[in-house]
């Protein structure tokens, strides 16, 4: 199934001051596929995701989403596109003066003509998905880090988006919840109309959800492969990064 890529990075460079973060990043994701991004802390994984939603613009190179150059897209169009995207922030990024339920309802109230009943139904459905229904009337400050993460995930899914970007959705979750969240992500990523990028450090999670993995280091995609080949790769940098978590190749 080779369709045209939904998300495409071409030779993207980005620096903050004198700090070069992305140095010629190139990759693409086809419709319905799931790409995992791995890489050391501080290499620009979150920065990469921010380019896709237009929170950051590349210094040079091309970031294309659904065929639109994100650096030169009109404001109205980008706003429309964003309603079809979900972004799970690494920090959760919940609105701190609204309850969990209001946080989830906010995009629906602002951007859709749905009735309050329908909004309430969707909110409780999404909260059930991430196993946090009893926190609906709490404020973000009353939640633990992992709970905020899950609310952030639920909020990203509230619009039933076509493109979902997950920035470490499992970080800080206990194994039981992480498995449950993984199942949610798996179900979503198995849906052929949803395109996803997952930034993830846990190898079992990557294996469970990803069609392909790229290794981001020194501002480039150093390696790109299916999870099976990726985790048994002999690439010296990757071998060092994975350490004892690496799969020892059974063949040869």
């Amino acid at each position: 199934m080779s369709s045209s890529p939904i998300i495409r990075f071409k030779d993207v460079h980005k620096s903050f001051g004198s700090h070069n973060i992305l140095k010629g990043l190139t990759f693409d994701v086809e419709k319905g596929r799931t790409l995992a991004i791995m890489g050391p802390s501080g290499t620009g994984k979150s920065v990469t995701l921010r380019h896709i939603v237009g929170l950051l613009q590349p210094d040079s190179g091309l970031v294309e989403v659904e065929g639109h150059d994100m650096a030169h897209i009109p404001q109205a169009e980008i706003a429309e596109m964003r309603t079809r995207m979900g972004f799970v922030f690494q920090s959760g990024a919940l609105i701190n003066w609204m309850t969990v339920a209001d946080n989830l309802a906010l995009p629906l109230r602002e951007n859709t003509p749905l009735s309050e009943d329908e909004i309430a139904r969707r909110v409780s459905e999404k909260l059930d998905w991430v196993h946090i229904a009893d926190a609906a009337h709490k404020f973000p400050s009353e939640l633990s880090g992992g709970m905020k993460k899950r609310v952030g995930l639920a909020r990203a899914l509230i619009n039933d988006p076509d493109i979902i970007l997950y920035d470490e959705p499992n970080a800080g979750l206990d194994p039981e919840i992480a498995t449950a969240i993984n199942r949610v992500i798996c179900e979503l990523t198995n849906n052929l109309s949803v395109t996803s990028i997952v930034v993830e450090h846990r190898i079992p999670c990557v294996k469970a959800v990803a069609d392909e993995v790229i290794f981001l280091d020194e501002g480039r995609a150093l390696l790109r492969d299916t999870p099976k080949n990726f985790f048994s790769s002999e690439h010296p940098r990757l071998v060092r990064f994975l350490g004892d978590q690496r799969d020892i190749p059974t063949t040869t």
Binding site: R50, V53, L55, A79, E80, R82, T83, M85, F87, F89, S91, A93, L94, I95, N96, W97, L106, P107, E110, N111, R155
Partner: protein, 260 residues
């Protein structure tokens, strides 16, 4: 020699503020949908500082009466204290003091609230969800201060005149009835073009403008915050400082235009 960097930063700041003001104005039609958040802000910026206005307003009136009494009693005219206190409060002191108090309490809170949202990625989250922060965050705050600054100014006027009357009676033996009669008499004077008590409306007009100034400066400082908790501190400090400067300078020009 001022470095060009500072001049550029100055114009960038004020350009951003002007832009914010125009953009929020273009969204005023959204007010009915925002009622819930507007009432919340009205409550916080109105009821939350009412006691400060009552206390400070009373003492400002008392100080004005004391100073007017000192000057007037040397020429045996202490009966006129009411005129001076009422006009001084209505024209200048009540809107000015109210705006300064609002800048220091409500404006700093606006900057800190929006600044915290900016440094905790909440504003970016709104952007990613295609939610306009001006409609959601700035509009309710602007409406709240546009309403509350004049309302609190009226309250400041009332308690100030009453406080002044107390001092006039206690210190200068002017009867409270005479004091109030002259105070109200002075305020009744109407404008040349508008058949309304000119001094009261001049003060309320100023208060309205001050409300806009405090909101726009504080919110733009908040929205542009970066650099974690330290950045929030800087934004708050800058919001209060710039609001007070802008209040004083604009006050001069408004007085000049209204009373020339």
């Amino acid at each position: 020699m001022i470095p060009t960097r500072l001049i550029v930063a100055f114009f960038r700041d004020w350009g951003f503020r002007l832009d914010l003001y125009l953009k929020v104005n273009a969204r005023l039609g959204d007010i009915p949908r925002r009622w819930q958040w507007i009432t919340e802000q009205l409550y916080q910026s109105g009821i939350g500082v009412l006691h400060v206005i009552l206390l400070v307003g009373t003492f400002i009136g008392m100080i004005a009466a004391l100073q007017a009494g000192i000057a007037l009693s040397t020429v045996g005219q202490q009966d006129q204290i009411g005129t001076f206190v009422a006009l001084g409060l209505a024209r200048e002191m009540a809107p000015f003091i109210t705006a300064i108090i609002l800048a220091a309490t409500v404006g700093s809170a606006y900057a800190a609230e929006l600044g915290t949202m900016a440094v905790s990625e909440e504003l970016e989250a709104l952007e990613v969800m295609s939610i306009d922060p001006l409609r959601l965050l700035v509009l309710p705050r602007l409406v709240a201060l546009l309403v509350m600054c004049p309302v609190l100014t009226i309250i400041c006027n009332i308690v100030g005149v009453l406080g002044g009357g107390f001092v006039a009676q206690a210190q200068y033996h002017v009867s409270f009835d005479l004091y109030m009669e002259l105070a109200l008499e002075a305020l009744r004077a109407t404008g040349t073009w508008i058949p309304l008590p000119k001094d009261i409306f001049a003060g309320l007009f100023k208060a309205f403008v001050f409300g806009a100034i405090v909101t726009v400066i504080s919110c733009s400082c908040g929205l542009r915050t970066h650099g974690g908790a330290l950045g929030v501190g800087t934004a708050t400090r800058r919001a209060v400082r710039d609001s007070i400067i802008a209040i004083i300078i604009s006050n001069y020009f408004m007085t000049w235009i209204i009373y020339r």
